[in-house]
């Protein structure tokens, strides 16, 4: 006999996943429309439906109760805290920009467009579920929803060999690392006898005092890292990143470089902080003694950013260059995780929001130039500044923001990250990151120099349509705005931790 209380609490819990339910309904609707109507003709219709679904998924947020750190629902599968609350509009925004980017650039054929919108919506739903999960089972399911569907997204251009090759590499690496992470989950389940994170964290504290169990915990932590470092494209699981980013359609690349990466970092916060750290006491956490994961991650962070930046220096394909730059940014973001403080966590979330705009913008320019008659090579950017000044100025701003130059948003984000590690007295990491910023200046400036200071090798006409320019503006405004007036975002972020 199931107690009535149990049924009632689960029925109430359903209202908390209303955003995901609405997204699912939108997916089903698009699927239905794609079957009934000749899907190759109604590109705009699918765009409108997908955007309506994403916007609609945010409507229930205003009706739901105030988030609280320990407000769990659906048998403790999910938590309704401020991080969950704000991640939903964040991921919806990533989805909106991706769909608009695919719509305006036409890099994905009409024949594949309806599937593309469906997959983008489904991955977005997976990410929304992932950041809310507080149960190993739910984390695994959401992680795989996000993963499996993004393999398909990479390979969506069925007739393009490079797209297929990228998808194959992505699926083989991805399935293996998520399998490894799952093995780590199974060890943790054996230790705690439960899949609920709050219960596991209690058992971990007890277990860390026995040397045998501590060994098991260290193995589990290493296995977790495999899955998470893969999703965030960090050393030593970054090999897939340049190949996949180059082979995938550019709007999808932009999507992957922001969405799943952000989800991976949030999962770092969700898994490592409650399970393997104590606190917060006056804003600082402490790793459970015997489990030195922050020092491992600090090393990973330093290697990741150095490796990404060094490899980016001699790339001539812009998508590959930005892929290595995104590896380097994973390194910067890990600094915030390593800092073990509320300030560090805030800086990660702040930087992710900033990164959303500037990275989507940079990839957006790449796809706009490539589809408007140019190519992805740095060659075709030579002298572009005189022929398409608006696009080039936009690109320069996105790149400067990625470097972290004032007065752009990337600068503020980086200041927060640096402040986080310095306030925790991890000076060597701050020095490494500062040196890396200087290195990164070189290759970002190479693009800017090609655009404005070099003569074009051939007279390619670049015509960027008005819709693309409007989309660029929508990404430019926050990149500039958050660089000058970032306090509202900082205030929102500081509520989370």
């Amino acid at each position: 006999m199931i107690p009535e209380e149990f049924i009632r609490s689960n029925l109430e819990g359903i209202s908390f996943i209303a955003p995901e339910i609405i997204l699912t309904l939108a997916i089903l609707l698009i699927l239905l429309v794609g079957v009934v109507l000749p899907y190759w003709r109604y590109r705009l219709l699918f765009t409108v439906l997908a955007l309506a679904g994403l916007a609609g998924s945010l409507l229930p947020l205003w009706k739901l109760p105030q988030p609280a750190p320990d407000l769990t629902y659906l048998s403790k599968l999910f938590v309704w805290d401020w991080l969950t609350f704000f991640s939903k509009p964040f991921f919806a925004l990533v989805g909106v920009f991706t769909i608009l980017l695919t719509q305006v650039t036409g890099e994905i054929d009409n024949s594949e467009y309806s599937e593309c919108t469906i997959l983008v919506l489904a991955v977005t739903m997976g990410m929304m579920l992932l950041v809310a999960s507080t149960d190993l089972l739910m984390i695994f399911l959401a992680f795989e929803t996000m993963g499996i569907l993004s393999y398909l997204l990479v390979g969506i251009r069925a007739r393009d060999e490079r797209s297929g090759e990228a998808a194959l590499k992505y699926v083989l690496y991805g399935a293996f690392t998520s399998g490894t992470m799952l093995f780590g989950f199974s060890l943790l389940f054996g230790l705690a006898g439960s899949t609920d994170l709050s219960e596991i964290s209690r058992q971990v504290v007890l277990a860390s005092q026995h040397s045998q169990d501590r060994l098991l915990l260290i193995v589990a932590i290493l296995f977790f890292m495999a899955g998470l470092l893969f999703k965030t494209a960090s050393f030593p699981f970054h090999f897939w990143c340049p190949d996949v980013y180059e082979g995938a359609p550019t709007p999808i690349t932009a999507f992957l470089s922001v969405g799943p990466k952000a989800a991976g970092f949030v999962l770092f916060i969700r898994l490592f902080y409650p399970l393997f750290a104590l606190g917060p006491e006056t804003g600082a956490y402490q790793a459970i003694s015997g489990l030195e994961w922050p020092s491992i991650l600090a090393l990973v962070s330093a290697i990741t950013m150095t490796l990404g930046n060094l490899a980016a220096m001699h790339q001539n394909n812009l998508k590959r260059l930005l892929a290595y730059s995104s590896i380097a940014h994973a390194g910067y973001l890990l600094m915030g995780i390593v800092a073990l403080s509320d300030l560090g966590l805030r800086s990660v979330v702040f930087y992710l929001v900033v990164y959303l705009f500037m990275n989507l913008g940079a990839f957006g320019v790449v796809t706009m130039v490539a589809t408007a008659g140019g190519s992805e090579d740095i060659e075709s950017y030579r002298g572009l500044g005189t022929r398409a000044p608006y696009v080039c100025v936009a690109m320069a701003i996105f790149l400067f923001s990625l470097v972290g130059l004032p007065p752009f948003a990337g600068f503020v984000g980086k200041v927060y990250l640096f402040a986080a590690v310095i306030s925790q007295k991890i000076y060597w990491l701050a020095v490494v990151a500062a040196l890396n910023t200087v290195i990164s200046l070189y290759y970002y400036l190479r693009i800017v120099k090609a655009m404005f200071l070099e003569k074009p090798t051939e007279a390619i006409q670049i015509q960027v349509p008005l819709s693309s320019q409007a989309l660029l503006l929508a990404l430019l405004v926050p990149t500039l705005g958050l660089g000058i007036y970032w306090q509202p975002l900082a205030r929102v972020v500081s509520r989370m931790f």
């Binding site: 199974s186 899949t195 190949d243």
Partner: protein
């Protein structure tokens, strides 16, 4: 003859190691997928073994381990379906499933 928890853990660790070895050494895409299956099944076996042998207490819910394994089987099927679809579409164009033949993306 009765079996205890360690014997299951030994088997699952072996499955995991064999899977890892397969993934790292195989050049055939299908072979790598089989290695991934082994890793996933090692994890699944762990969950079942733990939920069978651990002492139940007030705070633990050991049935969730067996449920977890059912989910793993379903997800692994979905993952392999996607991977095989990708391999198939590549094979129809490249006439090979040797992963070292795919080197258009390099640099």
């Amino acid at each position: 003859m009765s079996y205890s928890l360690p014997s299951f853990l030994v088997v699952s660790s072996l499955l995991f190691c064999l899977g890892m070895y397969t993934v790292l050494t195989r050049r055939n895409a299908i072979g790598i997928l089989m290695g991934i299956e082994l890793v996933l099944n090692g994890a699944g076996l762990n969950f079942v073994a733990f939920s069978r042998f651990l002492e139940p207490s007030q705070t633990t819910n050991l049935l969730s381990g067996q449920v977890f394994t059912l989910f793993i089987i379903a997800v692994a099927a979905a993952e392999v379906a996607v991977a095989l679809a990708i391999v198939l579409s590549l094979y129809s164009r490249m006439k090979t499933i040797d992963v070292e033949e795919f080197k258009q993306l390099q640099g």
